[in-house]
């Protein structure tokens, strides 16, 4: 563990693109050390008492928001949820004005999800608050990538030098981008698999390999990460029908045979069962989908703690 001589000095967590390898490992280690509290009877420690966080979500979310809220509450921070329909946005207030108002109420941290890429970055430049990106458009979703890395490390014993396939709509996926950036920093081999409409060749410039069929893309991989088909983020011409997509790119009993025998199957949720992944694989023994969700809370505790405690790592138990 490196935290003894490591100093965190970022105000915000906007993406994995900017993070160093050391920062990623630090957050994973911090999450690991905080995970234990979730197994206690009384799931609460006072480490963020007196701190307040607002989740500001302009897009629907179950997992991420609940996970951040639980993470904050477990550390005794006060968490408040603002969703777009309940906020001033419907009255035409700009997002920056909303955040400025939240800032004026002496909040410590704002957790933002928005359907437009770059919004948390724009906000972060214009506020003193700590800003956490909980997903921006097709750009980044750093806490998801961190929880994915933690899950992989727990199941594979390492998070370096692995072969990892990401399958599906890479083009529109913020989960894919955050994972590609983080996994490449840790020297993993990353295969991107999907029809050419979803996996443009330019992704190779980020160090990933591009494949357009499952047999090649999944061949010999340790991890298969399946992405949700994001129907809300694309036009009509990315794939002809769901039936055809499932036929060629669904991760199912048949196609997971290309991966290593001990490969794990991941999915960030929510799942379109029978479309990008079959139910038997999703519910099968290789699936670690629910283990990802559990680690989501630990990772978000680590993120909140790291940003709100000013980078000092004290014994949090």
């Amino acid at each position: 563990m490196q935290k003894d001589n490591f100093k965190w000095n970022r105000k915000d967590l906007l993406g994995t693109y900017d993070l160093s390898k050391e920062e990623i490992i630090f957050l994973l280690d911090t999450a690991k050390s905080m995970e234990e509290v979730l197994n206690r009877d009384v799931k609460k420690v006072p480490t963020l008492r007196g701190k307040s966080c607002v989740t500001l979500f302009y897009e629907p979310s179950t997992r991420t928001r609940t996970s951040f809220e639980l993470a904050g509450k477990t550390r005794s921070a006060d968490t408040i949820n603002i969703s777009v329909s309940a906020s001033s946005a419907v009255k035409g207030e700009t997002i920056l004005d909303s955040v400025k108002n939240i800032e004026a109420m002496s909040v410590d941290c704002v957790i933002i999800r928005h359907n437009n890429s770059g919004v948390p970055h724009f906000i972060a430049r214009n506020t003193k608050l700590a800003v956490i990106n909980a997903g921006d458009g097709s750009h980044e979703h750093p806490s998801q990538a961190l929880l994915d890395l933690l899950t992989i490390r727990d199941y594979k014993g390492t998070i370096e030098g692995l072969n990892i396939a990401i399958v599906g709509d890479i083009l529109h996926s913020r989960v894919a981008r955050s994972n590609i950036f983080a996994l490449k920093k840790l020297n993993n081999n990353v295969n991107l698999v999907g029809p050419k409409t979803f996996v443009p060749k330019d992704f190779e410039k980020f160090g990933a390999n591009v494949f357009h069929n499952l047999e090649e893309g999944l061949s010999g991989v340790d991890v298969v990460m399946v992405l949700r088909l994001q129907k809300e983020r694309m036009g009509k011409c990315f794939y002809p029908t769901e039936r055809e997509y499932a036929k060629f790119f669904s991760v199912n009993r048949q196609s997971i045979k290309y991966a290593k025998e001990d490969a794990i199957i991941m999915h960030p949720g929510p799942v379109n069962r029978g479309l990008e992944i079959s139910s038997d694989v999703l519910d099968g023994e290789k699936s670690v989908v629910l283990a990802q969700v559990t680690r989501g809370v630990a990772v978000r505790m680590a993120v909140l703690y790291t940003l709100l405690s000013g980078g000092r790592f004290e014994d949090s138990n």
Partner: protein, 424 residues
């Protein structure tokens, strides 16, 4: 009124000479090798570092009035042009109401005169009513009202049949058509140039092919009709190559680029910099170099600003919702001088691309530095260093990626209508 310019470097289309100029009653009355007596002169310029150019014309400007006066109005826009060193600007039709009828044209010309700012405003009429891409405007009447060209700038005329008829009909009145060349299905909802950076930022890309196809279509139709066309804001390598090819084949085509396309690349948008969100988008380094080569070999006739002011609220927001465009009238001179400093163009080329060619394309008399000609001059200090900021810019808006950057060179005087104006 007598104005004397002594010891100046005079840039004409035939070369660069050390000369002394006497201006009397709006006219260049004498150009001599020996200094002119400064006695009795109401204005004297005597500085051997200054460059005297025929007056500059920006043939691609958005002044936003009527309709969007909160971004810019005719007065502030002309003032910005004046301080940028221009004696004239041709203004695009995408106002509200659109300049698609003589009433709007008259209004623009009158407003410009009322301001008293010594910059001529030349309205460009829309090609189609309300820029709807469907119904042709009354081109003959608009020409009588003072329109110098037609353009649906900001949009491409999607229907090729209508574009063909527009070329033909405009040719009837000997009027040029300025094409914003873009295949709009390919570019739909795009934010920045498509490629590594659009993937990195998770923004929908505008492929270079949208411009290339647009230019190819527009050139092909112009070839069919034989009309005079001018391609606006060329930003891609293949766009430049296509224009070069059609020119070689004898087509009557001209084109322009803007300083941003030979100075900046798509990297400028990293960090979601909305000031660098423009259309066509900033492209790759390869494109930038091809645009420079096009300027050097003469394929690109004109450098225009595509001055597109926007209120700060329209830029200080989410990238997706930010407006396209940047201001450019006041950064034109220093950015063009950079091409001279790099040895790509000489001063004579600048006189061509900023004065003679744009005047010719719009069928306007181009200013000449010759005895007996009207004195319309732009006089530049090529060494003056200044910072682009709210204090130095006269436009109502400050949306430019050059904000807070230091540039070298600035227009110091403009001579127009028999008067000399000191700009700094």
């Amino acid at each position: 009124m007598k104005i004397v310019i002594n010891n100046a470097t005079v840039v004409t289309s035939s070369g660069v000479f050390r000369k002394n100029i006497l201006i009397k009653d709006c006219v260049i009355s004498k150009i001599s090798d020996s200094p002119i007596s400064e006695r009795g002169a109401s204005f004297v310029i005597n500085d051997k570092d200054l460059l005297v150019f025929p007056g500059f014309l920006d043939m691609h400007t958005h002044l936003r009035e009527p309709g969007f006066e909160y971004k810019e109005d005719i007065e502030t826009g002309l003032r910005s042009a004046h301080y940028g060193g221009f004696i004239g600007v041709a203004v695009m039709a995408n106002t509200n109401p659109v300049n698609d009828c003589s009433t709007v044209t008259h209004f623009m010309i009158c407003r410009a005169k009322e301001t008293g700012i010594p910059v001529d405003l030349y309205p460009i009429g829309a090609i189609t009513k309300g820029l709807n891409g469907e119904t042709l405007v009354e081109m003959g009447e608009l020409r009588s009202a003072g329109v110098v060209a037609f353009s649906d700038d900001g949009k491409s005329v999607t229907n090729s049949e209508i574009l063909r008829r527009a070329f033909e009909y405009a040719e009837t009145f000997n009027m040029p058509v300025i094409c914003h060349s873009e295949e709009s299905y390919l570019s739909k909802d795009g934010q920045i140039n498509e490629g590594e950076i659009s993937l990195l930022l998770g923004l929908k890309g505008i492929p270079r092919e949208a411009e290339i196809l647009g230019i190819y279509r527009d050139l092909t139709i112009a070839k069919l009709t034989g009309g005079a066309i001018h391609i606006a804001h060329v930003s891609t390598k293949e766009g430049v190559e296509l224009i070069r090819k059609f020119k070689k084949e004898g087509l009557s085509v001209t084109c322009e680029t803007c300083p941003q396309y030979f100075t900046l690349t798509e990297k400028e948008v990293l960090g979601y910099n909305t000031f660098a969100k423009i259309n066509p988008p900033l492209r790759t380094e390869e494109d930038r170099l091809a645009v420079i080569e096009g300027l050097r070999d003469g394929t690109i006739d004109v450098i225009a600003s595509d001055h597109a002011p926007h209120h700060l609220d329209e830029k200080n927001c989410e990238f997706q919702n930010a407006s396209f465009g940047m201001i450019g009238l006041e950064t034109m001179v220093p950015l063009c001088l950079e091409l001279v400093r790099m040895g790509i163009l000489d001063f004579k080329d600048l006189a061509e691309k900023l004065s003679r060619r744009p005047h010719r394309i719009l069928n306007l008399n181009s200013p000449k530095i010759k005895e007996g000609e009207p004195a319309n001059l732009t006089i530049i200090d090529p060494h003056f260093e200044w910072e682009v900021n709210e204090k130095t810019i006269h436009s109502k808006s400050i949306n430019t990626p050059f904000l807070n950057k230091k540039l070298q060179g600035k227009a110091k005087y403009v001579i127009k209508g028999g008067e000399a104006f000191e700009l700094f």
